[in-house]
């Protein structure tokens, strides 16, 4: 039986998905690969799970954030900046594990896929629990939620939405989505340690006596995502079309200052 852990009827499976193993890439390249995967899943309907890290500390802006808002966060002012296609607030990608999961959705589905936030975050919380870290969704902390329109802190990790994972009162995992007609891309950041460029934000390893490594975490997250989403994740690579598409998207969009400063 698949999908028994979160008790939701949103399982995809049983089905086979592609797992793109942990790798490090540049800021614009990372975003371009996620977009190329979204385009690919829109065409093929085959789910893709990817783990990645960043070749240099990077500030990513949410799709609708104004570039000028960078001035409100001096600590990250000098690092590389990229604009995401997903919503939410700015993230300093430095001491973190980043994931993206892209799945098909029925044509005509509307709005965010809340169940994907729930299942992905549950999978990461279960992995953290195996190492003695108790992470809970913000909606279960008993803290009064803020409406989105007032959730206007510059940094994503200073905002709170229902499915964000909280450890000892600190947000350690946040995710965002981009929809196409028949697929949704969700990517998110698990903070591992405090970054010099966002010193106000602790990561899970700052709250532990024995630090966790990404090598320990990733296999457990994959296993949990397999059970929770009903997907058998098989290690694969980016296709040649995805590589070509990602290169074009990188050059034309994410590496372009016109794109980054468009708002």
């Amino acid at each position: 039986m698949m999908n028994t852990r979160t008790g939701s009827g949103a399982s995809l499976g049983p089905t086979v998905g592609r797992l793109i193993s942990l790798a490090t890439a540049g800021s614009a390249e990372n975003m371009a690969i996620d977009q190329a995967i979204l385009d690919s899943v829109t065409r093929t309907g085959v789910p893709v799970l990817r783990f990645y890290q960043w070749a240099e500390p990077t500030l990513s802006l949410g799709y609708f954030q104004g570039f000028a808002a960078r001035a409100t966060h001096a600590q990250s002012d000098a690092i590389c900046c990229v604009r995401r296609t997903t919503g939410g607030g700015a993230i300093v990608h430095d001491q973190e594990l980043t994931y993206s999961v892209t799945i098909p959705v029925p044509a005509g589905s509307a709005g965010p896929r809340s169940v994907l936030y729930q299942q992905t975050h549950a999978s990461i919380a279960e992995a953290l629990a195996n190492f003695g870290v108790q992470a809970v969704p913000f909606r279960r902390t008993g803290v009064e939620p803020r409406s989105e329109s007032r959730n206007s802190q510059f940094l994503c990790f200073q905002r709170r939405t229902a499915e964000d994972l909280i450890v000892s009162g600190y947000k350690v995992l946040g995710s965002a989505q981009r929809k196409s007609r028949t697929a949704v891309l969700q990517h998110g950041s698990l903070l591992l340690c405090t970054s010099l460029y966002a010193p106000q934000l602790p990561g899970v390893n700052d709250l532990l006596s024995t630090p966790l490594s990404v090598e320990q975490l990733v296999p457990q997250i994959v296993e949990n995502l397999s059970a929770n989403l009903g997907v058998d994740w098989r290690v694969g690579t980016l296709s040649s079309q995805e590589i070509r598409d990602a290169d074009k998207i990188r050059r034309e969009r994410f590496a372009s200052s016109v794109w980054t400063t468009r708002r």
Partner: protein, 133 residues
Amino acid sequence: MSRDESKLLYAESHEWVDLAEEDGKAVGTIGLSGFALEQLNDLVYMELPELGRELTAGEEFGEVESVKAVSPLYSPVSGKVVAVHEDLPENLEKLNDDPYEFGWIVKVEISEANSVESLLDHAAYQKQCAEAG
């Protein structure tokens, strides 16, 4: 007086169209259905197209953000954007209360009459929404 939603046409992607004749031209007023707005849940941003932009039926003409998810808006008809509801992005909280009047997004002068043929009537759209749960 608000539009009668039972008289509108709908795209599978949840945009409604009110077809009318203005100065001898076929014009479609386009918005997002009440069902879509419920699913979107607390819209925080909306991006509108430029006046004069030529759209093809099914093409993205704008984007919205809710719960950190960015979703495209798809044009249900082909034609030229002749009016844009400029006040809407700053007043998204009013959308849920009045999706069919205050919630109009753009008006499109329809260039291909047959681009409306694949749209759903209200009963067919209601059925789609019921099946989507």
